[in-house]
């Protein structure tokens, strides 16, 4: 195996991991943009998406199962907001974050009791477990291309939504200054519901497309959430494209660190680099210093 091919293979392997982190990070970003809350339950949306899609796929063809899972999880997201966040008054951002931690634990346990502890997965969208796409001699699973495609489409749509549509801007206004948003006539509760629903849907979609690669289990959400959180922060909060860049970067760092260090330490190198970046750029690679994530709780 030539060294260029090797490097390319590491790169592709990094992209595979990174695309998974990126998918989770986008969802983080959306709720963050709308509410300033970092939703620790985002990983759980990803897990639920995968689990529900697998269950539905016993009864329906794959596309229907995926669509069904996305819709159901979006509804769950809205429902969670309605039940747990809407009734809150005068709660700080930190309180809401703690509630998302609680939700994440509860959802995980609920999944354990609804399903069981076993791993599940959707079939590969194209090809099977051993098929791969060759790029200059290096190989990548076709499913990764599905993931990348999903990311690209979601990011573009999200970017347009948040920057150029009225509703999207209103969403950002809500996180920027809720009282002023209310005075401008924005129903901030509905906006938050919408944000939860949307990011739950995004998470679920991610959970479906990555399910063949990573497999899904009731516990799969939390580690994904941590990496997704790291990706979102590395990129800089408040910008879905930055989140994707952050995700890919973490994946690629992990892959290349494997080539030099014992694989047991690849998380160590990824997080060490993340820390370094933060120490040099305290608001992520592409974040703005005045951005909301910088604000204290």
């Amino acid at each position: 195996m030539g060294s260029e091919i090797l490097i390319l293979q590491y790169l592709l392997s990094g992209i595979t991991k990174g695309s998974i982190y990126a998918m989770v990070a986008i969802g983080f970003n959306l709720i963050f943009s709308a509410t300033g809350v970092l939703n620790f339950a985002q990983g759980e949306f990803v897990m639920l998406g995968g689990m529900i899609a697998v269950t539905l796929s016993f009864y329906f063809p794959l596309p229907v199962a995926v669509a069904g899972a996305v819709v159901i999880v979006a509804c769950i997201g809205c429902l969670l907001e309605l039940l747990f966040f809407r009734p809150l008054r005068h709660h700080s951002i930190l309180h809401m974050i703690i509630i998302t931690i609680g939700l994440s634990i509860v959802i995980q346990e609920a999944a354990l009791h609804i399903w069981d502890e076993k791993v599940r997965s959707l079939p590969y969208f194209t090809g099977n477990e051993i098929s791969s796409v060759k790029i200059y001699g290096a190989a990548i699973s076709p499913q990764v291309l599905w993931v990348l495609g999903t990311i690209t489409v979601s990011v573009i749509l999200l970017h347009i939504f948040l920057r150029y549509t009225l509703q999207g801007r209103a969403m950002r206004a809500c996180s920027s200054n809720p009282e002023a948003a209310m005075l401008a006539g924005i129903n901030i509760s509905n906006m938050r519901t919408l944000a939860f629903g949307l990011s739950a849907a995004l998470g679920a979609l991610g959970g479906c497309v990555i399910s063949p690669i990573t497999m899904t289990q009731y516990e799969a959400g939390a580690p994904l959430a941590i990496k997704g959180f790291a990706a979102a922060i590395l990129g800089g909060l408040g910008n879905p494209m930055a989140a994707v860049a952050g995700g890919l970067l973490i994946g690629i760092i992990e892959a290349f660190s494997v080539s030099k260090l014992p694989a047991a330490y690849n998380d160590v190198s990824a997080f060490a680099i993340l820390l370094l970046v933060l120490f040099i750029r305290p608001h992520g690679l592409f974040g703005s210093p005045s951005g909301q994530g910088v604000r204290e709780f």
């Binding site: 502890e117 791969s132 290096a138 990548i140 080539s259 690849n266």
Partner: protein
Amino acid sequence: ASGDKNKPIKIGAIFSVSGPASFLGAPEEKTVRMLVDKINAEGGVLGHKVEVIVKDSGGSPEKAVSFAKQLSEEEKVLAIIGPSTSGETMQIKQLCEENKMLLISCAAAEKIVNPVAKYVFKTPQKDSQAVTWIFQTMKDKGISKIAVVSSNDGFGAAGKGCLEEMAKPAGIEILANEVYDKQATDLTDILTKVKSVAGVQAVVNWSIVPAQSIVAKNMKQIGLNVPLFQSHGFGNPLYAAKAGVAAEGTLFPAGRLLVVDELPADHPQKALLAAYKKDYESKYKEDVSTFGGHAYDALLVVLEGIKKAGTLDRDKVRDAIENLKGLAGTAGVFNMTPEDHTGLALDAFEMLTVKDGKFTIYKK
């Protein structure tokens, strides 16, 4: 000496029913509950009903410690079976030894019984025996240069150590040796590294986590087309299923539970395995796995010890267990000695392979 017949035999169990090792603890718990019901329906042991108190440790050692104390000091159980993972077992090994509490672990690592602690036993086969099988098969296939990948949990670490130790004497060279995270979602990078090492003739993966299927898939995806050996942790049909076609041809040593149909009728384990498999699968509507079998064996060992000792005195039961001979369990036939607190011989294993998505005995 068996005293009041109404008093049930209390046995404690610590399993990680939830948490990161739930794929071990959950079938263990189910198995034990099933078995206890069956035994009680058949009249119990020595005329006593058997009561098992199951504690879910969630895989945390500190909880295992707390529960072990609780079980021995408050519940005053006769013996503890479990914990599911070697990390938890190691944390309570000394505690049980000091409190003279009988512990039958369901974790595999060799150091649980080596050095031997008087009160500590375990039921899964030894890693060293699995390694012996694997290296033997490699020799038969003419393989001498291998790569080892393992997970960063207790099982993976123990197996890795065992492989490293036994490779030289067996004439096998380990060219690459990598550890991956037990929650890994993709392993192409590690396998790329393996692929970049010239001369690797086979890959050995040592783990109990779902990532075993990912190894199989990723190897095929990046075109690393050498035989894949797995540990006895592959003994769950689910993992083979999740790897799909990628699992074809995987070689691994395992107890006979997974191939009970292929056993000759006169095999000492056949009846027990068949019954366990049937009961379990009809009760829980899921495939039986070797993990549940470890709990089966643990309970079996304790109860047989009681039967043999004819008393509920813990020290006598311990002595009886230490001298159990020819006890057929799910993992093999147990022959305990004061030096060997596992009691399984090399023949507890069979080399298996995956063919058309099914486990079957590997024939050269």
